[in-house]
């Protein structure tokens, strides 16, 4: 318990350090999330729109979730070497699958009636996609992005082992910062993870079409775990 109060003290005394490390952490996470979105969402949406590749699209997230994060970072260290890029690539590999699957399912399962009605109104496939499927798919798609984002922020802690910086640097440096530093770093990461969760939740609500706001999707067999600060 003493360590916990010491940790709070540590946070107060080391604001600059915490700030710098948090910025590093967010840069790394943000880059990874951004790249993952750029790769996963278009692919997932496209496949969902075409109602194709369901086996792949659904199972890729199972595979992705099973990947041990340190192992992926390790392979990255062997292939790409040390530093920001390696860890970012590893984080993208860990984040993209969930995003892809959610995007796929979200678009694929858009109410068929709505799609048919749109077609009946004379919309081209692309218009159907942009004006009907995407808006209706947004909530579930965003849920995937949100899950992945929190996961990335949590896993970026391991970046410290690969020269990627971030708040993990404090946690692996017990020699310098003491156990209170380790606890302080953990608190910072937990706060960051919660904040990410919250931010994306707000974002999700903002982009959800008004008519859909009440609908929640509870997938029993693959529960979304929040909060998530562990790989």
């Amino acid at each position: 318990m003493q360590t916990f109060t010491d940790a709070i003290q540590f946070l107060g005394d080391n604001l600059q350090l915490i700030w710098d490390k948090t910025v590093e952490h967010l840069l790394l996470s943000g880059a990874a999330i951004g790249v993952a979105i750029l790769i996963a969402i278009p692919v997932g949406v496209w496949l969902g729109h075409l109602h194709r590749g369901s086996f792949l699209a659904i199972n890729v997230s199972n595979v992705g979730r099973a990947l041990p994060s340190l192992a992926v970072i390790s392979i990255g260290l062997g292939v790409l070497g040390v530093g920001f890029l390696n860890v970012m690539v590893a984080l993208v590999i860990l984040a993209a699958p969930v995003m892809l699957t959610n995007a796929y399912v979200a678009v694929e399962q858009v109410d068929k009636d709505a799609v048919q009605a749109a077609r009946a109104m004379g919309m081209q496939p692309r218009q159907v996609l942009l004006n009907v499927e995407l808006p209706l798919a947004l909530p579930l798609m965003f849920a995937g992005i949100r899950t992945a984002a929190v996961y990335v922020v949590a896993t970026a802690t391991l970046a410290a082992l690969a020269g990627g910086g971030g708040l993990g640097d404090i946690i692996v440096n017990q020699p310098t910062y003491g156990p209170e530093g380790v606890v302080a770093g953990s608190i910072a990461i937990a706060v960051l993870a919660f904040a990410t969760e919250g931010a994306f939740a707000l974002l999700q609500r903002a982009v959800t079409p008004r008519g859909l706001r009440k609908r929640g999707e509870q997938v029993l067999l693959e529960p979304t775990i929040t909060p998530v600060t562990n790989p």
Partner: protein
């Protein structure tokens, strides 16, 4: 469901978890720090001073040279009848020293300059290796530990750059780094706060232009090669330095200290193990460890990827400590 049922189920679950926990802990055989008080029933023969003594737990820090040292001492002690439990890769000085004082381990090989600067936290620059030895010995004895004789070899922290970087900027000593506007130094986490580290570089050489980049220990050569850092903290007996790709900057002020190695043991455990008899075994090995010997062993493990236990065995056999 009703409460009786619930109670029964809870009981079952509790029993199950206890059973599993018990099974799990059977694997947990670390021969921890505490021994069951000395049971020397018979006088151990002078050939095998270890016979009849309680098991000893040694630890090592988290890098190649320490692994090799650990194996060398372990195998030598075992040849003399001791039972040794070696916990490799415990962590940096600060961590392993805590393991020592808490009794989790009985001893480990330590660099005496580090003993003075990091463990004893003296921000001074000893003038010689004898002075370092004496300071360390006094400190440890006051605290309840004893140290063996020191090895001939020494392994100091050093700052290295790629050869190109050193040539481009005319760098020969650590003091030359002051010429740069700013530079990055990549180092293991604990380096940042140490007098024999960034702190000393700043205070003794005035290197306020240094920017610290934290690297996990071992990655520094990759980081130098990739250009991720301008300079890096290395160890002077690292095998990679023999490649010619790197320039090691000299340390004229001796900030990084004198770093011969000695085995630090908890005093009460040492007595149980036979006191000087035990240290004689250690010293016999230590005397063999010259710079050349250490570097070639480091090289075999770090560059040729040989197993450190095998390397230690070959060395001890070649020098008559182990029978072939």
């Amino acid at each position: 469901m009703n409460r009786a049922t619930l109670r029964l189920l809870l009981l079952l679950a509790l029993v199950a978890s206890l059973a599993l926990a018990a099974c799990g802990d059977d694997d947990d055989d670390d021969g921890g720090g505490g021994s069951s008080g000395g049971q020397e029933t018979e006088q151990a023969s002078s050939d095998m001073p270890g016979e009849g003594k309680p098991p000893v737990t040694l630890g090592t820090k988290d890098f190649t040279e320490e692994f090799v040292l650990g194996e060398l001492y372990k195998q030598a002690l075992e040849a003399k009848g001791y039972t040794v439990n070696l916990k490799k890769n415990i962590g940096a000085t600060e961590i392993i020293d805590k393991a020592l004082t808490s009794g989790e381990i009985d001893g480990y090989p330590e660099y005496l300059g580090v003993s003075v600067a990091v463990v004893a936290r003296k921000d001074i620059v000893p003038k010689s290796d004898e002075e370092t030895y004496e300071l360390a010995q006094t400190f440890y004895e006051d605290r309840g530990q004893m140290i063996s004789e020191q090895t001939p070899f020494f392994d100091v922290d050093a700052i290295a750059t790629t050869k190109e970087f050193a040539d481009q900027n005319g760098l020969e000593t650590v003091a030359d780094l002051k010429k740069l506007d700013s530079f990055t130094v990549g180092a293991r986490p604990e380096f940042r706060n140490r007098f024999q580290g960034l702190k000393g570089m700043r205070s003794e050489y005035g290197l306020t232009n240094a920017q610290f980049k934290q690297l996990a220990l071992g990655i520094q050569y990759q980081a130098l090669d990739n250009g991720d850092v301008d300079s890096a903290n290395v160890f002077s007996t690292d095998a990679q330095l023999a490649s010619g790709k790197y320039t090691v900057l000299e340390d004229p002020k001796g900030v990084f200290g004198y770093q011969h190695v000695a085995m630090v043991m908890n005093d009460d455990k040492l007595k149980e193990l036979g006191g000087q008899d035990y240290f004689d075994v250690i010293d016999e090995v230590s005397a063999l460890l010259t710079n050349d010997a250490m570097i070639s062993m480091n090289k075999a493990v770090a560059i040729d990827k040989q197993d450190e236990a095998e390397v230690a065995k070959s060395f001890l056999e070649a020098n008559g400590i182990l029978q072939q």
